[in-house]
């Protein structure tokens, strides 16, 4: 068996752009769920909107900062539209509304009626919107090898996207760390623990929840941009399963912690890659085909999610006293 190659591939997942994008999305979800207790099951919808906003406006000729603004604006509007009616209702109503809204975004995005705008179910090709991001790169074209890892400097799955994505992840972690220690963050935690108590202190619970929903959604939309930069915007790869992976990542690492989402994302993708690569080497094709090994990986994810929620809802880094998922 080719252990060095397997270990290289698995270790490569630790800092892959996808891992960063999922970590960022989980950080956004952490603002919703970990800090405020909002059950957002439509994080993939925020990401997809961010991706569409960025890609479509770039194709329309916007510079990169304007395209990013469009992505952020899309998710802000989405959060407001979702939040205004539902934040006054019970928690599981927000869950159903967000999951339905994310599906609506996906179904409308993949509809043939919008082929000119979104490319329907085949989506938008990566080269059509990558230019502005790659032009920002300070590196020369070509490839660089660092230890066992070789990637191109700028194109697609590059060092440049890795650096940019992880810098943003670190910034988001810093932001959450600051927020958790700020008076604003303490109010959010209060809402998570006991909404009525906070309300009786004269705080506008609704406004705080809305701010949290928008902030987490904006982080989600940036995650969506980083998710699609090394590939293409494909609505069907950003549906409900994606939201569920983000939840698994958050609960695995530990909700209401600063590094939980990052640790969760790294573990999630390395373990999946480990199952996939080792499975391909060890299990003969007659017992499990390569596709089945991949599906086996997702089965492991599903079972992990169930066991985590039942036996260790605080995840790896969390504090059980701080996070009881059911507060209402």
């Amino acid at each position: 068996m080719d252990w060095p190659r397997i270990l290289t591939v698995v270790a490569g997942e630790l800092f892959a752009p996808t891992t960063a994008a999922y970590a960022l999305a989980a950080i956004g979800l952490n603002v919703h769920f970990g800090l405020t207790g909002l059950l957002n099951f439509g994080q993939a919808g925020f990401m997809l909107l961010g991706a569409y906003g960025f890609a479509i406006s770039t194709i329309a000729g916007f510079p990169i900062w304007a395209a990013l603004l469009v992505a952020v604006a899309c998710s802000t509007v989405f959060a407001l539209v979702l939040g205004i009616p539902t934040l006054k209702l019970r928690g599981d109503y927000l869950a159903i509304v967000t999951i339905a809204a994310a599906e609506i975004v996906r179904i409308v995005g993949r509809s043939t009626a919008l082929t000119d705008l979104t490319g329907a179910s085949s989506g938008l090709r990566g080269d059509s919107y990558k230019e502005t991001f790659q032009a920002l790169s300070p590196f020369d074209d070509g490839t660089t090898t660092l230890g066992p890892f070789t990637y191109s400097n700028n194109a697609s799955n590059s060092w440049w996207i890795r650096i940019a994505a992880w810098v943003v992840v670190v910034l988001a972690c810093l932001l959450v760390w600051r927020l958790m220690r700020s008076p604003w963050g303490r109010v959010l935690k209060g809402i998570r623990e006991d909404e009525d108590a906070v309300r009786s202190l004269g705080k506008n619970v609704y406004a705080y929840k809305m701010q949290a929903l928008v902030l987490g959604g904006v982080i989600g939309s940036v995650a969506g941009v980083f998710y699609v930069l090394p590939r293409a915007v494909q609505p069907d790869s950003m549906g409900r399963p994606m939201t569920f992976w983000i939840w698994t990542i958050l609960l695995l690492g530990g909700a209401a912690t600063v590094f939980g989402p990052v640790l969760g994302s790294m573990l999630f993708w390395t373990v999946l890659m480990l199952i996939k690569t080792v499975g391909r080497e060890v299990i003969p094709n007659t017992i499990m085909t390569n596709a089945q090994i991949e599906q086996f990986g997702w089965i492991v994810v599903g079972v992990t999610l169930m066991l985590l929620v039942i036996f260790r809802p605080q995840g790896i880094l969390g504090d059980k006293k701080e996070l009881a998922i059911d507060v209402r």
Binding site: T18, T86, R125, V309
Partner: protein
């Protein structure tokens, strides 16, 4: 309409779930994959069909034992894919001869698909394949095409439901009848969801998988074990009931006893849904499974063309729903069920065995969902690993619209949702029709969260 189908068929460039028996081609930054799956009109893989891919490079491809072909390309650009019709299995023809040869543009680092559906060359019939729910990770999975991989019902118009624009009274009647059939089948599946929510307060996101289980069990009994359809359907319902019973006994009762909160349980149902979906995919692959191979005969009722199967399904569904209503209204156990649904604590205090009732609700709910799955699989012409997941939100919409926790609300809500889904075809493109139902779901939650038949109470 033919044009619409054409567009649907051509627009299948991209990633979709992997179900290959052989690892054919993995796109990476230097290579691109062009591929698809060719199935006979009966849904079996077409083996040994030769294709020629010409463009910046020239590659020949042959379909394997799983009907799958792929071409590995290292240059981007437009490729002309030509299918050699003389290599098709005996008696098979291209459904759309005009689409051969076809031009596909290929981008490095991604998978593109070119589909050649087989069957009678008609303008109507089922739609083509579509990209499935991507289980996309760091690597783009190889493309699946053909009839497989798609979400059943999302793009594939079921028999009796016509896609495309234009309004006429006969189309209205056609769509309305399709809506009533779809709504009734949806009702079967959602009654259990509503009762489970009523008695335990749990939003069961794994209910869709019970529907899928019914469809897949019917497929196994009817196709693998070769039993008559009625027997297969009945056995599938038994399997569903057993699965419902086992789920409550194995997971939900221990969790209730452990006093695990409802939100936690909700996330557990999501974990269960993921697990079951991929277990189905593990054993049955990512493509559509046809419970019945033959195309069902149709009947003309006034302006409406409907399949015999749909009529029989409708009759079965109505009888079963009648029986459920009688059970809830006319029997002691049914009254106890409604009492638990109304107020579990009070019901327990009046001497009703709440746990026994909940077990019963899970069992009956599982059986009804399985029956719904069997009939839905027949109605949509095929079942697949994600059939239940696709209609899960429609079930939630129906149940919420009718009033969460009320069994009759689920009936009314399902009919409304069924009609909305099919009638919205008249005004919006058919691939957006599920979105209409979801918009209703959101509007109901905003305007009348207790639903049509629910009791107004303070929520939140």
């Amino acid at each position: 309409m033919g044009l619409l189908l054409m567009t649907l068929l051509t627009l299948v460039i991209g990633a979709s779930p992997a179900s290959a028996a052989t690892e054919v081609c993995q796109p990476d930054p230097q290579t691109a994959c062009l591929g698809g799956t060719i199935r006979t009109s009966a849904g079996e893989p077409a083996v040994g069909v030769e294709l020629d891919v010409a463009g910046p490079e020239q590659v020949a491809a042959v379909t394997g034992d799983d009907g799958r072909w792929s071409a590995r390309l290292t240059a981007a650009g437009d490729y002309v894919v030509t299918l050699d019709e003389s290599t098709l299995p005996a008696g098979e023809t291209l459904r759309d001869p005009a689409a051969n040869p076809r031009t596909v543009s290929v981008v490095l680092g991604s998978s593109a698909g070119a589909l050649f559906p087989l069957g009678q060359p008609t303008a109507g019939g089922g739609g083509g394949g579509t990209d499935g729910e991507g289980d996309d990770g760091a690597t783009a999975p190889p493309a699946t095409g053909g009839e497989g991989g798609g979400e059943p019902g999302l793009d594939t118009a079921p028999a009796g439901s016509s896609a495309g624009g234009g309004f006429s009274w006969s189309r209205l009647a056609q769509q309305a009848s399709a809506g009533i059939v779809f709504g009734t089948l949806l009702a079967l599946a959602s009654v259990g969801l509503s009762l489970i929510f009523g008695t335990t307060g749990l939003s069961n996101f794994a209910h869709g998988e019970m529907v899928t289980l019914g469809g897949i069990a019917a497929y196994v009994f009817a196709r693998t074990a070769d039993l008559p359809l009625l027997v297969a359907g009945a056995l599938a319902v038994v399997v569903g009931a057993a699965a419902g019973w086992a789920q409550d006994a194995g997971i939900w009762k221990p969790l209730r006893r452990k006093r695990v909160g409802l939100t936690q349980q909700l996330i557990v149902t999501i974990g269960l849904a993921i697990t079951l979906q991929y277990v189905f995919q593990f054993f049955f692959g990512g493509s559509s499974l046809r419970i019945v191979v033959a195309n069902p005969p149709t009947v003309r009722l006034g302006p409406v063309l409907i399949t015999q199967q749909s009529l029989i399904s409708l009759a079965i569904a109505l009888v079963v729903l009648g029986a459920v209503s009688y059970f809830l209204l006319g029997t002691r156990v049914g009254r106890a069920t409604r009492a638990v649904s109304d107020n579990p604590a009070l019901a327990a205090a009046s001497g009703i065995g709440v746990d026994r009732i909940i077990r019963l609700v899970w069992t009956v709910g599982g059986a009804l969902a399985a029956l719904g799955g069997v009939l839905m699989g027949l109605y949509l012409n095929a079942t697949a690993w994600n059939m239940g997941a696709t209609i899960l939100l429609l079930m939630f919409a129906a149940v919420t619209l009718g009033g969460l926790g009320t069994a009759f609300g689920a009936l009314v809500g399902s009919l409304v949702i069924g009609l909305v889904v099919e009638l919205s075809n008249l005004v919006i493109p058919s691939d957006m029709r599920y979105a209409g139902a979801l918009v209703i779901l959101i509007l109901v939650l905003l305007l009348r969260p207790q639903g049509i038949l629910g009791r107004a109470e303070r929520i939140g």
